[in-house]
């Protein structure tokens, strides 16, 4: 079934591409065996669906009148200059980075799309030699089942609905106008306009618990001017530090604290005084407690109290 459909779509595409003039529906029907062998109603159905499917692949089918004098019948064709990839010229280095970019995606992701894109570029004579550059090799993958549906929706501006598990575990239903996807710390997030909350929201794709359903036609909404997903994603990062703490740290210990410290000075042979900036008392208290007796808070008092409370909680665990 799938094979016959692929064959039919290819034949329709080739027929419309090769023709210099508009072809009428009857001419198209006569040229493709499967259309010819179908009843009129079945042919109409298939033909309409096939045109839509070619359009979904970005292939524009032009309709027009076959004859300027008898404009009673509509015809179809595909304009070469609309369909074909124009010439592109890349420097050797640019071509090399495109080759490297094509290796970034995992098969769970857009590896297939990367491969066909590179083949198309090679077909128009772009010479891709990845040895021309040595670069970082990032990996991108998308294991989240909702990724494909959401990418399609964001690309075509189709509003979507889905089940969503909040951080506290409760299930909700969300209706969203997708603006785009962003990967932060190897996790995919959908950014968009939440219709119920009437505000921009970020959704973690791994928390989508249902199929993604389309709630409208392509182009149903506009993405507001100046939307930047990175600004939305800023909510995922710790706020900039506003507080200052002074810690006593055993010499040579607590390397992760020292790495981000403002400065440090020796107190004696065994101890340094380390000055750090922070945003969250809870987070820094956790970091301090994790080093046990190697890190002791001198100031501020609020941090000291948070640390002592957490140490007491640890001792209550004593068997």
């Amino acid at each position: 079934m799938a094979q016959r459909k692929t064959e039919r779509l290819m034949n329709l595409f080739f027929l419309l591409l090769a023709s210099n003039q508009y072809l009428t529906k009857e001419q198209i029907r006569a040229s493709i065996a499967e259309y010819r062998e179908s009843g009129t109603a079945a042919f109409e159905r298939k033909f309409e669906r096939d045109k839509d499917e070619l359009r979904e692949l970005g292939i524009a089918i032009e309709t027009g009148s076959r004859d300027a004098y008898f404009d009673d019948e509509v015809g179809y064709r595909i304009r070469r200059d609309d369909a074909e990839l124009p010439d592109l010229s890349f420097t050797r280095e640019e071509a090399a980075v495109i080759g490297l970019a094509a290796q970034v995606w995992d098969t769970a992701g857009l590896a297939g799309e990367s491969a066909t894109a590179v083949v198309k570029l090679k077909s128009i004579g772009v010479d891709i030699d990845t040895d021309a550059m040595r670069m970082v090799e990032p990996r991108l993958s998308a294991h989240e089942p909702a990724f494909d549906a959401v990418l399609t929706a964001a690309t075509r501006r189709i509003p979507v609905g889905f089940g969503y598990r909040r951080a506290d575990g409760t299930e909700t239903h969300r209706e969203v106008e997708p603006w785009g996807l962003i990967s932060v710390r190897d996790r995919w997030y959908l950014g968009g306009y939440d219709r119920d909350r009437q505000a921009p929201r970020l959704f973690r794709l791994s928390r989508v618990t249902s199929e993604v359903s389309e709630l409208g036609a392509p182009g149903s909404y506009e993405v507001p001017e100046g939307v930047n997903l990175r600004d939305l994603a800023d909510a995922l990062f710790p706020p900039p530090p506003t507080e200052a703490a002074v810690l006593r740290v055993r010499a040579g210990r607590a390397q992760s604290l020292r790495r981000t410290a403002e400065r440090s000075e020796p107190v004696d042979e065994q101890t340094d005084r380390v000055f750090v900036r922070y945003a969250s008392t809870r987070v820094l208290a956790g970091e301090v407690v994790s080093f046990g007796p190697d890190v002791i808070v001198e100031s501020p008092e609020s941090l000291r109290e948070a640390v002592v409370a957490r140490l007491r909680a640890a001792i209550e665990e004593a068997p």
Partner: protein, 318 residues
Amino acid sequence: MTTATSERLVRMLAMVPYLQSNAGLPVADLAATFGVSEAQITKDLSVLMMTGVGEYHGELIDIDLGALERDGVVYLRDADFMPRPLKLTTREASALIVALRTLRQAAAGDQLPAIDGALAKLEGAVGASAPVDVHLPAVDRRIKDTVLSALSRGHQLDLEYVTDARDDRSTRRVDPWRVFTEQGQLYLSAWCHRATDVRTFRLDRIVAAQETGDPVERPVDSAPESEIPAALFTPGPDTPYAVLDLEPEALWLVDAYQADVLDEAVPGRTRVRLYGSDPSWLRRLALRHAGLVHVVEPRDLADAVVAQARAALAAYDG
């Protein structure tokens, strides 16, 4: 249309001009190029032969079956009607543009012009920007540039490196092999002269890097494929672990680390087995989340957490 059907259609339409300008391509190369099996390529070719601008000889695409069966190479003819590939689809353009943006964040300063040039030309060709973005963690630019420079020139590197898990700081000389990302972090894999073994370094934990003038002793291609670490951390039988009871506020640890939820009912809590690269890392995790994470086993870990907390409290009470 199902994704599989449209992927196949896009692939077969890409093959037509590609095979015309690359006559005699082996099926194996074609499979590698498209990232599908040779069997799939053979199936695609058999469908291609049924298509064309008409139904008669000369109108249908012709593939030299003799050459295909005898030598496993592809000669495609009678497809003059499609000499050029289709425009990039939005998904294809998105795939490359996002990958280029990702490369850009990880690139050294002198590599930016090539990336920006490629991005501008691709975005111009599709007339749109992709609705997908990637955020990589910020890394000290000087350190990244030093590491990448040594990598591309094949020079040894002197590193000062901090290991958070064991909380120590060390200096070592390495032969850089690859810089890559894994779980959203940047890593260097290298031959470490001190350990005389392959080591992986997280770039944000390199506190100082110096490119030496000495060429690497063990280039990456001298290493068998198996020595190059594929994934960073896969729990094995010897991986240290702890059984923990998590309060609801600490459940996110299951997502953030390597952990399995165990099938034991503990009222109000969730019992998990959580893996760590090192026992001291597990101890630090239990201390950090004291009150929300309760150590069930091993006993040494529970004891160590309490002992460390007592010693720290003594400093405040004293």
